[in-house]
């Protein structure tokens, strides 16, 4: 929690007789109205004069909303309260979501001289954050850091999680945090009384209230939680039959000989490709890495091999029908779904999969030569599409669907002979060759080319679009190769490609490059 000892709380203006100004900022649908009415009820029950305002209607539908409450000790004479919060004039701000806290700070409702900020740290992502093809999530750390500076006193915790764990909703936990913060001159029992008086879901609300009350009083969580996330993660050791474990140990022993900066990523990558296929495939992966090492540079921290360890693993463990079928039929998945859905032994869980195979996927599963001939024949592709190309809903908890998927998953042993495998392998070779071509003249550019593999993801159309962006970025890189800032441009091109679906930002960046060539 942050306090500014230098800025002692401003002495309340005697003329204002200690009006307490409280704003709730929430996302529509979070129950901000319930919270506001509880606060109002507790104030009135404790003999305060109180006024609440809100905006109802269409503006509430999942958009940012604000509730505003003013109160002061009752004297029998009606005070004049404001109907909306003013910048620099809010005593308590409750944010039901982290970016709403950010919005409150942005609007000046959180100021170091007076505002106690109670915020939930969880995120409800805005559409603009989730719809970009890359990573568009706004930085919680940035908002939290700003909150630490802007607030006189900050209480931040995942009040959404606290509420869900208590079987309730966030309005109850935020109400508990408000009580626990001790900023309103009302006893805990009065707060709980307001919940009881509302008469709906009282028990759950009181549980969430109590948990959040304790969290608010305990102060911030020890700072080791985020530190753990940034610490190097050690890939888990697999379990399995002894001969395979021995083979695995032999492979990991090879990683031990790699330079330190490469090891973690190589371990993660190895796990991925072995889980995808087998130990021999893992050995192939390590061979590829080992072949890069002599050309890599220690003064650059072996960035080339480290990035290659990441993206080669992703390229080798491509998303084909066999992998999907294998993943969908693993026992761990069934257990995970059951627990995520909160199902108990008293329930049954039925799982429906949504598959839509296209002719390309079927052709890709054929032996390479036959598959290539089929893929080249429009007539055959149309035929495959007619036979297989429709949406399929598979009840993977029932035997027919499970057996089919299980059988598809069993094709792992055959996978390396498929058309898809040969295509993926050719693409991988071409991409690595491009990167290595740059290596002699521009090390950084080679690393950027390796990283461009990030652009290829998704299935069907999305995959095709990713491929085309990848190709366009590489073509763009070819244009700038040889320039001093080539690596920088390569990075910019890749980032632009991840900004939107159609690649408008990428087109813009490419146009810029052409303008100065």
């Amino acid at each position: 929690m942050t306090a500014h000892p230098a800025l002692s709380p401003r002495v309340p203006d005697p003329a204002l007789g200690g009006i307490i100004k409280l704003a709730v900022m929430a996302v529509g649908g979070q129950g901000g109205g319930v919270l506001a009415s509880w606060i109002e009820d507790v104030a009135r029950a404790c003999g305060f004069a109180c006024q609440a305002t809100s905006v109802a209607g269409v503006a509430q539908r999942t958009g940012a909303t604000i509730y505003y409450i003013e109160m002061c000790p009752g004297t029998g004479r009606p005070p004049v309260f404001s109907l909306l919060p003013a910048a620099g004039d809010v005593d308590i701000l409750i944010a039901a979501e982290m970016m709403e806290a950010g919005r409150a700070i942005l609007r000046g409702f959180v100021t170091p001289d007076r505002t106690v900020l109670i915020t939930s740290t969880h995120r409800v992502l805005a559409v603009s954050e989730k719809s970009v093809p890359g990573d568009g999530i706004a930085s919680t750390d940035e908002a939290l850091a700003a909150a630490g500076i802007a607030a006189r006193h900050l209480i931040a915790a995942d009040f959404d999680r606290i509420a869900i764990d208590a079987g309730s909703v966030i309005s109850a936990s935020l109400f508990g945090a408000l009580a626990g913060a001790g900023v309103l001159p009302f006893p805990r029992a009065a707060f709980e009384g307001a919940i009881r008086a509302s008469g709906k879901g009282v028990e759950g609300s009181l549980r969430a209230f109590a948990a959040a009350f304790a969290a608010a009083q305990a102060g911030p969580a020890p700072p080791d939680a985020p530190a753990a996330a940034t610490a190097p993660t050690v890939a888990p050791q697999p379990t399995g039959p002894e001969p395979l474990i021995a083979g695995w140990r032999a492979l990991t022993a090879r990683i031990a000989a790699f330079p330190a900066p490469v090891q973690d990523m190589a371990h993660a990558g190895l796990s991925k490709v072995v889980a995808f296929q087998d130990l021999a495939y893992g050995a192939e992966y390590l061979d590829r890495l080992a072949s890069l090492l002599p050309q890599d540079r220690a003064d650059k921290g072996h960035a080339l091999t480290r990035e290659a360890a990441k993206y080669i693993a992703n390229a080798m463990a491509y998303d084909d029908v066999i992998r999907v079928a294998d993943l969908k039929t693993q026992g761990a998945r069934f257990r995970r779904i059951t627990s995520e859905m909160g199902a108990t032994d008293a329930n049954l869980v039925r799982v429906t999969e949504f598959m839509h195979p296209r002719a390309q996927e079927i052709a890709g599963m054929l032996p390479a030569r036959l598959g290539a001939r089929v893929e080249a024949s429009p007539k055959w592709m149309a035929r495959l599409d007619r036979w297989f190309g429709k949406g399929r809903r598979l009840r993977s908890d029932t035997l027919p669907a499970f057996l089919m998927l299980h059988a598809l998953g069993a094709l792992r042993g055959y996978r390396r002979r498929t058309l898809r495998h040969s295509q993926e392998r050719a693409h991988l070779d071409r991409w690595l060759a491009t990167a290595l071509d740059c290596l002699a003249t521009d090390y950084d550019l080679a690393v950027e080319v390796i990283r461009c593999r990030r652009l290829i993801k998704g299935y069907s159309d999305t995959h095709a679009r990713g491929q085309s962006k990848f190709d366009r970025v590489l073509a763009g890189i070819a244009l700038v190769a040889g320039r001093e800032d080539a690596a920088d441009w390569a990075r910019r091109l890749r980032e632009a490609a991840l900004k939107d679906e159609e690649g408008k930002a990428l087109d813009g960046a490419l146009a810029t490059i052409r303008s100065f060539l």
């Binding site: 109802a56 503006a59 009606p78 109907l83 409800v124 719809s131 992998r323 039925r350 999305t462």
Partner: protein, 715 residues
């Protein structure tokens, strides 16, 4: 059934003389209507007065006891037209709608009503949707009062003042034979507070009784020569009568010292904001005792010259606090001063912004600027020479994302827009116009479908210029609310009569959903006092549309896409209409969730669907989100160094609407979605069968697992 029920609060409307009412502004308004012996009430929902309609609907028992007729009017024009009952009969009537859009629709009736003049008090309670939280164009309803000569009340935003405005509104209307509009702003409608109640009063003459003794007076008809007489009557009699009433009953208020070099003229609705600014400058106390004289215009039209000049007398400078543009009040007051050859300096829009909401900061800045120039000695030293050393707060303007309103979790309109987006991927971009309502969210990302809205019920009419057709058909979208409000007559008859080649998609979610889930003609719910269950398809067929298709499950994205494609390519001439119906999820969940939980508790078999994403299969391309935008479909960062981009993730708020699976299928997205149906209280037979399956599946899984390395379910 509306989104919010006021059944409990409605009991407070029975409070008698001397009791204390505590609650929201809209309830206070309703109570005041009953205390004033209103004979009929009506209106059309829309923020911020939707809840007033909901309160009236929930209070129908009480209204019936008092002999008050409640009409849920078809639109604002119908509501305003209903006030015709007060033209000949001494019956008080009140209608409510939002402004200025509702006034736009009602203006025909309001102009006629104002010309005819009224006998019984006619009150329009107007929710002015201006400023933060508004969902419409930013305009003022003020101009309508000026053009038609009805009176505009803008009371101070507290319950006693609002209640008093209702009392005087009726009386002023009767004293001046003119309709009165009582304006309440967004926050005043929902402001909470207390006031002392009086007994409810039955109307002196009920509308039922009036039918037994019909009246008519040719002089009230808006036809020449009476229309000329009406205009003269307005100026010679009604207007002066209104001014007299305003003066006699001191509707406008003065606060603060009688003698001072400066003063502030403020709209009643802005009073609290101005007092707060003065409080922050140390010039007013908590109870509004101010050192700067205030002239509070609880009546913003007509303005009374003599009263204003009396306030201005002896002052050097005045500030007019008038929200919105243009500055009608400031202009009028300037004229008053000019005609009186006054030397008083009048400030207003030079100190305050011409456009936009007058927030706390805006008012503080404006009042400070005014006092700095006109009376600097009043200001505290700190304001005159600010000395701030507050720490710099990091700029979050690039971090915090915008969060406009959008479709709710599980909204049945989402798949319609997903299908429209998909059909455009196949057939190319089309000219699309939209209407008013929740469906307008389709214009926002991620759908970005439709680029114009011309008013409620006017979506298809807005495509009129394209009715002749071309290479690709124009598409218009309209909700069921817009359809019944004005769409059937203004949009659909227009399409039929002009032989439109276009496609109109009617988004039918069973309610007037955007305004709070009120019932409509085509609602499926049984409503004791309203006739529901009139299908939209029958209406459009009835006016001669030949090509009409009904979709009863909008979540079938693939089916809807194919139907849209058919409508856009069929050779059949004339308008094409698709009625896409699925119930508003907000309403459906509110109705079904308690029933479902009760059924689970009772031991009955219940299936609860929810969607999930296999993180190992999701590649983090977010294509699904670009066809959904559902609040429950978010992103999750994986603790995997190999993954750069967050993957899709569905949280526990998912209602299992099915859109995710349908979209993944129709758009051929990816196989990472699954639906999990949790079966509560399964039957014994079901249980045995599931146990058998689990044994076989478990054996196969264990067998495979024993032959491979297990990385904990990841591959």
């Amino acid at each position: 059934m509306a989104e919010r029920s006021f059944r409990a609060e409605v009991e407070d409307l029975r409070l008698g003389a001397g009791e204390t009412f505590t609650g929201e502004g809209i309830l206070a308004l309703t109570k005041a209507l009953l205390e004033n012996g209103v004979g009929y009430v009506g209106g059309y929902q829309g923020a911020p007065i939707s809840h007033l309609m909901d309160v009236l609907a929930d209070a129908q028992d009480l209204l019936a006891e008092l002999g008050v007729r409640f009409e849920a009017n078809a639109n604002e024009a119908a509501a305003a037209a209903m006030l015709a009952a007060s033209v000949h009969y001494p019956i008080r009537g009140a209608v409510t709608f939002k402004g200025p859009v509702g006034v736009n629709v009602a203006s025909d009736a309001l102009a006629n009503l104002s010309s005819s003049g009224v006998t019984g008090g006619a009150l329009i309670i107007l929710g002015e949707d201006y400023g933060e939280g508004s969902s419409i164009m930013q305009e003022r309803s003020h101009a309508f009062a000026m053009k038609s000569q009805f009176w505009l009340l803008d009371p101070r935003p507290n319950l006693p003042s609002i209640v008093r405005a209702v009392d005087h509104g009726f009386a002023l209307s009767e004293a001046s034979n003119s309709p009165v509009m009582l304006m309440v702003r967004i926050r005043s409608c929902h402001v909470t507070g207390t006031f002392t109640t009086r007994d409810n009063r039955r109307p002196a003459l009920s509308v039922r009784e009036a039918l037994s003794a019909p009246r008519s007076d040719f002089a009230r008809v808006v036809l020449p020569p009476m229309s000329y007489v009406h205009e003269q009557d307005k100026v010679r009699n009604r207007w002066p009568a209104a001014e007299r009433y305003v003066l006699d009953h001191k509707l406008n208020e003065r606060f603060g010292p009688q003698q001072a070099p400066v003063g502030i003229v403020v709209q009643g609705g802005m009073y609290n904001g101005v007092v707060r600014a003065l409080q922050r400058l140390g010039l007013a106390d908590i109870y509004g005792e101010t050192q700067v004289p205030l002239y509070v215009l609880n009546v913003t039209y007509p303005l009374v010259s003599s009263e204003f000049l009396e306030f201005a007398k002896g002052k050097d400078s005045l500030l007019v606090v008038e929200e919105g543009q243009p500055e009608f009040i400031e202009q009028s007051l300037s004229t008053f001063l000019y005609r009186a050859q006054s030397k008083v300096r009048l400030h207003g829009k030079d100190m305050l912004p011409m456009a936009g909401e007058y927030t706390g900061q805006v008012l503080l800045d404006g009042v400070t600027a005014f006092l700095k120039q006109a009376a600097p000695h009043l200001l505290p030293a700190q304001v005159r020479a600010p000395n701030q050393d507050a720490p710099a707060i990091p700029d979050l303007s690039k971090t915090v994302p915008v969060r406009p309103p959008g479709f709710c979790t599980g909204c049945p309109e989402r798949p319609i827009f997903a299908a429209l987006k998909l059909v455009q991927k196949d057939l190319g971009q089309h000219q699309i116009s939209a209407d008013i309502g929740c469906h307008l969210f389709g214009a926002l990302p991620p759908f970005e479908v439709g680029g114009a809205t011309m008013g409620y019920g006017l979506g298809p009419a807005a495509n009129g210029a394209f009715d002749g057709g071309g290479e690709r058909r124009p598409i218009s979208i309209i909700g069921d609310g817009g359809f019944w409000h004005n769409g059937l007559s203004s949009s659909f008859t227009n399409m039929v009569f002009n032989k439109s080649d276009g496609l109109a998609v009617v988004v039918d979610n069973y309610y007037s959903a955007a305004t709070g889930g009120q019932d409509l003609m085509s609602s499926r719910a049984r409503n004791a006092t309203k006739a529901t269950g009139h299908p939209i398809s029958r209406a459009v067929k009835g006016i001669g549309v030949g090509w009409v298709r009904e979709v009863t499950n909008t979540y079938d994205v693939g089916g809807l896409r194919d139907l849209l494609a058919e409508a856009l390519t069929t050779k059949e001439p004339g308008p094409k209409v698709i009625v896409a119906s699925s119930e508003c999820m907000l309403n459906r969940q509110r109705r079904e969730k308690p029933l479902r939980q009760q059924a689970i508790r009772d031991g009955r078999r219940v299936e609860a669907p929810r969607f999930g994403v296999d993180e190992a299969i999701c590649t983090g391309d977010h294509a699904c989100i670009r066809l959904s935008g559902c609040p429950s479909l978010g992103l999750k960062r994986l603790d995997d160094p190999l993954r750069d981009d967050p993957v899709a993730s569905i949280d526990q708020s998912c209602v299992g609407c099915g859109n995710c699976g349908e979209v993944a299928d129709a758009a051929v997205l990816c196989p990472s979605f699954y639906r999990a149906d949790v079966v509560h209280n399964p039957t014994p037979w079901e249980r045995r069968r599931a146990a058998f399956r689990a044994r076989v599946i478990g054996w196969l899984q264990a067998r495979r697992q024993a032959r491979r390395l297990d990385f904990g379910g990841a591959a």
